[in-house]
């Protein structure tokens, strides 16, 4: 069912995506201008367009969208769902153990089980060391957020990190067509597949934190979230450089990242918020694209809804699917739902 939804979304969006990318390429200058205008419009109405901020230490005012009232704590819980997913994936794959039970309880949402996952037999010393490092960092992120959130912390939701026939990784890989429609994608079968599995959601964490920064009110929480954003960006670049380097001998590692990126893009709406590791050069040939960023050299952000489209592997509005079969946990429903892009 998930798979079908993804396929449908891909078919529908493929033409749109092609058009969009072509547009972005030919209209780079005008999109630049639009970006600048929107930023400036939100800054100040001065005719010279300069950023003027007469208030000495501006206090951010929460401006929740109507109908989506949530607190910083709710936003941290939104992030914690993603950290549970990443921590379990890396911990099981790199260290051979799931997170302890004491790290999974909560007062909000249903405590779910982890489906799938096993230790990867690493061959490459560098990849193994990096995988363990990321695992320990992600475990630390879960603990940090649980402590920061306190008594209203969510329980770990049900997670599907399986690479079998009904696994979310398989669904994502089929959607990206890096495996055939009847093939499975097991991210634990090799360190190569482990890196591709990590790639499927690494940049998503970055865009989720980036998108959430402007929604946070408390400055300490903002600083903490900025630290998490940076950490996820370091991790994402490690995964991307790891795949790109391997792609010298096996080009499919590079092309697969572009295919996965396109699949993610097809799920989260019309904006182009995603890039693989390979960029086509104007005069032919390709070059590295380690940083997914816009033409201003600024990384992308995703709204909570867009993040859920990827996490649920669905282009439609709803709760649940993909890596979170029963949905993410949150007190606030608007922080659990995916966007209607299908």
């Amino acid at each position: 069912m998930i798979k079908d939804a993804v396929y449908a979304a891909l078919e529908l969006s493929e033409h749109r995506r092609t058009q969009r990318r072509a547009f972005l390429k030919t209209a780079a200058t005008s999109s630049l201008a639009v970006g600048g205008l929107s930023l400036l419009a939100a800054c100040d109405d001065d005719d010279d367009g300069s950023v003027v901020n007469p208030t000495p230490t501006p206090t951010p005012t929460p401006t929740p969208t109507p109908g989506t009232a949530y607190t910083d704590g709710d936003l941290l819980n939104y992030a914690l769902n993603l950290e549970y997913l990443e921590a379990q994936y890396y911990s099981i794959a790199a260290l051979g153990r799931a997170l302890p039970e004491s790290s999974l309880s909560g007062t909000v949402g249903t405590r779910g089980a982890v489906t799938g996952g096993r230790k990867v037999a690493f061959q490459d010393r560098g990849i193994a060391a990096i995988a363990r490092e990321i695992a320990l960092d992600e475990i630390a992120h879960v603990e940090l957020l649980r402590t920061a959130i306190g008594s209203t912390v969510i329980a770990q939701p049900a997670l599907n990190i399986d690479g079998g026939t009904t696994g979310a990784f398989t669904a994502a890989a089929r959607a990206a067509r890096i495996v055939g429609p009847n093939e499975t994608f097991d991210p634990y079968s090799s360190e190569d597949n482990f890196l591709l599995g990590a790639f499927i959601f690494e940049d998503v964490g970055v865009t989720a934190y980036k998108g959430a920064a402007r929604l946070l009110v408390d400055l300490d929480i903002l600083e903490r979230a900025a630290g998490l954003l940076a950490a996820e960006s370091y991790h994402a670049a490690l995964v991307r450089t790891g795949l790109y380097a391997r792609g010298r001998m096996t080009p499919s590692f590079r092309t697969s990242t572009n295919a996965i990126s396109d699949a993610r893009d097809s799920l989260d709406g019309s904006s182009d918020l995603d890039q693989g590791t390979l960029t086509q050069l104007g005069g032919g040939g390709t070059t590295a694209n380690i940083v997914p960023s816009d033409s201003d050299g600024v990384a992308f952000g995703r709204t909570p809804e867009q993040t859920h489209n990827i996490a649920y592997l669905r282009a439609t509005a709803g709760i649940g699917g993909g890596f979170f079969p029963a949905g993410t946990n949150n007190r606030v429903e608007s922080l659990r739902v995916s966007g209607a892009n299908g």
Partner: protein
């Protein structure tokens, strides 16, 4: 002089290796001290900053790295139309002393070219956002003579002897080490600046730049680390792992040892090299310089300037910015 001070105070390598374990044992204390540390690090200089001041401060760092990467990839600095600005906040200067690097690893060459393009795009982006209040490019020392900023940084870190030069353009690894000096620094600068930006659109953009800077820093660290695995350095060659630790220690000593706050990602040891550690789980990499909570570190603008000026005390120029940075924030932290 700076070199002597830093060399004198460099801590033994053994102290660093047990850092993560030590921090793990201090989590309780760090959490309790949180509230105090915030007040202590919010200086009078940063308390009065407008969003434009913060962005202009960041623009100084973008000018610095954009020129470094432009020289390495093209042999010249950034285009002149990306250098002009409001001289009310400081005179326009030249970026000098850089040159083109001969890369031997195809991937590294591509990574560097990508960072160069992103850096220049960001210079233009910030200038556009700032409009007429954008600062001009300050004078930037990217040279490699024995008295240049790179060489003095290397001397201070103990990478080269006193009075010796470090040519960061000599080869690929040397360039990556030169870039490494600023990679994590920029991450900590943007993270530290996040709370200073009031406008939500600008904060959103700054968060996007923070992320890109972390991707870039990670790419540089990863290329250095991978290089040592592919070809372990021979005797007499620069060992990137060792050098990364030396530079990290030097940065840590210059920036004044911020009060430990684990849950915000601040601390006296806001910097880490590339040396791996080993636990019961096996070898653990240190590609991401994070604290025991998995957080990247923050630096205040003043602490960033301590490193850019290569000075542990309050000065308004030096190091990579021989005439100082431009804009409202110009003075490094005091009595570090």
């Amino acid at each position: 002089m700076v070199g002597e001070m830093v060399q004198h105070a460099v801590r033994p390598a053994e102290e660093r290796s047990s850092r993560r374990e030590v921090f793990r044992g201090m989590l309780g204390a760090g959490a309790v001290a949180g509230g105090l540390a915030i007040a202590a690090t919010s200086s009078a200089q940063t308390a009065r900053l407008s969003d434009a001041d913060v962005l202009n401060f960041a623009l100084n760092l973008e000018y610095l790295t954009a020129n470094l990467f432009a020289f390495a990839t093209t042999g010249s600095g950034i285009p002149s139309d990306a250098q002009s600005g409001s001289t009310a906040a400081g005179a326009q200067g030249q970026a000098t002393g850089g040159r083109r690097v001969t890369f031997v690893t195809q991937e590294t060459q591509e990574y560097v070219a990508e960072i160069a393009a992103d850096d220049l795009a960001r210079v233009r982006f910030l200038r556009r956002q700032l409009g007429s209040s954008a600062i001009a490019q300050p004078a930037i020392d990217l040279g490699v003579t024995p008295t240049s900023a790179f060489s003095r940084a290397a001397q201070a870190a103990g990478v080269v002897p006193a009075g010796a030069a470090l040519d960061v353009y000599a080869d690929e690894t040397s360039f990556l080490l030169g870039a490494y000096i600023f990679g994590d620094l920029a991450v900590t600068a943007y993270k530290g600046a996040a709370r200073l930006i009031g406008n939500k659109e600008l904060l959103d953009a700054a968060a996007g730049i923070l992320a890109v800077r972390a991707y870039n820093a990670s790419t540089i660290r990863s290329a250095l680390f991978a290089g040592t695995l592919i070809k372990p350095p021979a005797a007499g060659e620069l060992n990137p792992i060792t050098v990364s630790e030396q530079i990290s220690d030097a940065r840590d000593l210059l920036d004044g040892r911020d009060t430990l706050n684990e849950t915000l990602g601040r601390g006296p040891d806001a910097d880490q090299g590339l040396r791996t550690s080993t636990t019961a789980d096996g070898e653990i990499g240190n590609l991401s310089p994070l604290n025991s909570r998995g957080l990247a570190y923050s630096r205040t603008p003043e602490r960033v300037l301590n490193i850019a000026y290569l000075s542990p005390s309050a000065v308004s120029s030096g190091g990579f910015f021989p005439a100082g940075v431009n804009g409202a924030v110009r003075t490094s932290g005091a009595a570090n």
